[in-house]
Amino acid sequence: MRMLALHLAVLAGVAALQFVLPAYHHTNAARILVLATYAIGFNIAFGYTGLLSLGHALFFAGGMYATGLLVDQGGWQPWAALLAGPAAGGVLAAGVGLLALRTAGPAFMIVTLMFAQAFHLAILYWGRFTGGDEGFTLSGAARRLGPFDLADPATRYGAAFLLFAAAMLGCLALVRSRTGRVLIAVRENEERTRMLGYDPFRAKLLALVLSGLLSGAAGATYGLMFGYVGGSFAAIQYSILPLIWVLLGGAGTVLGPLLGTALLFYLIDWASSVTTASQFVVGAVLILLVLFAPRGLLGLLRERGLRSLP
């Protein structure tokens, strides 16, 4: 109960932020909320189930391109195209999972990486449809969901907030459910979990599909919100970023993805304003993190007393 109250309070705080933030940070916050949704998706696979994928850009960009192409070239209604985003992410994750989950550890990382790279190359190769590296922008009509115009900052924030709130509460419900307990058990000891009667393959596939679904939803929403679909979202950088966000905030915590995404976003923002060597600053912070808080900030908090933090 106390934990549910804590998470609801965080949501209320995030909702209230939009009324106090100046325009620049207002846009940033909306961006962070969508990217944090992506991080929550990544965290279900990585943080809770122990699946270290290096190819999640496939699911994020897959959702983004599915929605973007359907609305831009397929003539779909934006809201229908938006639903195609998570569907694409989930289907792609199921396909990748059926093959990649036959491996584990480093092999799993490499196989997921290869799938994502293949997708990135395919986007560049079929540039006639995808716009290649430059991508394509979405028209104003493509960004109107019924009466809601995502080009309007307040609406955009509202959409980002709804997506994030649904993802976060969904994640909270999942990890406190019986299914969530099995996912965590697989992370902790796969063979022991099997001897309790659970098929680890099935559990991991489920986690990956849920993860892909959320990643695809985030990618699709991101595309519509900012009116742009581009090849860079399918690049390896977008597979590494969610890993860093989650590690920073705390892998296997519900609030960690939001914290990590926001911190890294503003760290990069601040570092590039004071030095041209912003990458160096970010690298230094990450090294400090690995040395002093390998379980991330909320992981540290959990170790230091707040043990029931989900």
Binding site: R178, R181, V182, I184, A185, E188, N189, E191, R192, T193, R194, M195, L196, G197, Y198, D199, P200
Partner: protein, 233 residues
């Protein structure tokens, strides 16, 4: 009535014949002890029965059904539960969560109540909120047993359950096992001969991957080959 029938089981590790042509039967409702010197192949044999280790030859029938090729998690669903020799609880999860994992596999409605009852059965109700890794060794052994029991199995395989338990804990463990039969069939690997002679209705003696003898406790105690190989005269 026979619950389990294994025929011609073989499992070699490289050149080592851990299990080398073993036939093994369990009657429904019995407490059956599996004994033998270190390295005799006891853990390997129950690994074959539970599906943790694949058999290289032979067949296993459980309740009339051929389970030889079934993966371990499906065998758990058939009613075979295995409690590890080397304690293998989830150290970073709470005692409650460890047992809840087993309880929820049975589809129990009220998870908290059923888990509490399973913990109370082995005397760990007070430790529910503790991380399993912080429990004493003996308590981790009891937790391991609780996890096996909580699966509500028809066959419960216990691999050296009393190792590391205090005398008082052994007493209550024996009472617990007695209370399980005949609803549950118990296969017990055990080095403590007092426990074996006290609990078991039948005993199988394994040596170097083969069955050396089988029979009632008194017959086994009188068996010369067993005395030579194992009981030390």
């Amino acid at each position: 009535m026979s619950l389990l029938e294994a025929r011609g089981l073989v499992r070699h590790f490289g050149g080592l014949r851990a299990i080398d042509g073993v036939d093994f039967d369990l009657s429904a409702g019995e407490i059956h002890a599996l004994i033998g010197p270190n390295g005799a192949g006891k853990s390997t044999l129950v690994g074959l029965l539970s599906g943790r280790i694949p058999a290289q030859a032979g067949t296993i029938r459980f309740d009339g059904r051929d389970i030889t090729r079934l993966p371990a998690h499906v065998r758990v669903g058939c009613g075979i539960a295995y409690a590890f020799q080397i304690t293998s609880v989830f150290p970073r999860l709470t005692t409650f969560d460890n047992v809840a994992l087993a309880v929820q596999r049975t589809g129990a409605r009220d998870l908290a109540a059923a888990t509490g009852a399973a913990l109370a059965r082995v005397g760990l109700a007070g430790e529910a909120g503790q991380l399993a890794g912080t429990l004493s060794y003996g308590h981790q052994r009891l937790l391991e047993i609780a996890m096996g029991l909580a699966l509500a199995p028809r066959l419960l395989i216990l691999d050296e359950p009393t190792q590391g338990l205090a005398t008082g804990e052994i007493e209550s463990f024996m009472a617990l096992v007695r209370s399980l039969v005949p609803e549950v069939t118990v296969l017990l690997i055990e080095h403590n001969m007092e426990v074996v002679m006290d609990l078991a209705q039948r005993i199988t003696v394994l040596n170097a991957g083969r069955v050396l003898a089988r029979g009632t406790p008194s017959a086994i105690q009188a068996d010369r080959a067993v005395q030579a190989a194992y009981l030390g005269g």
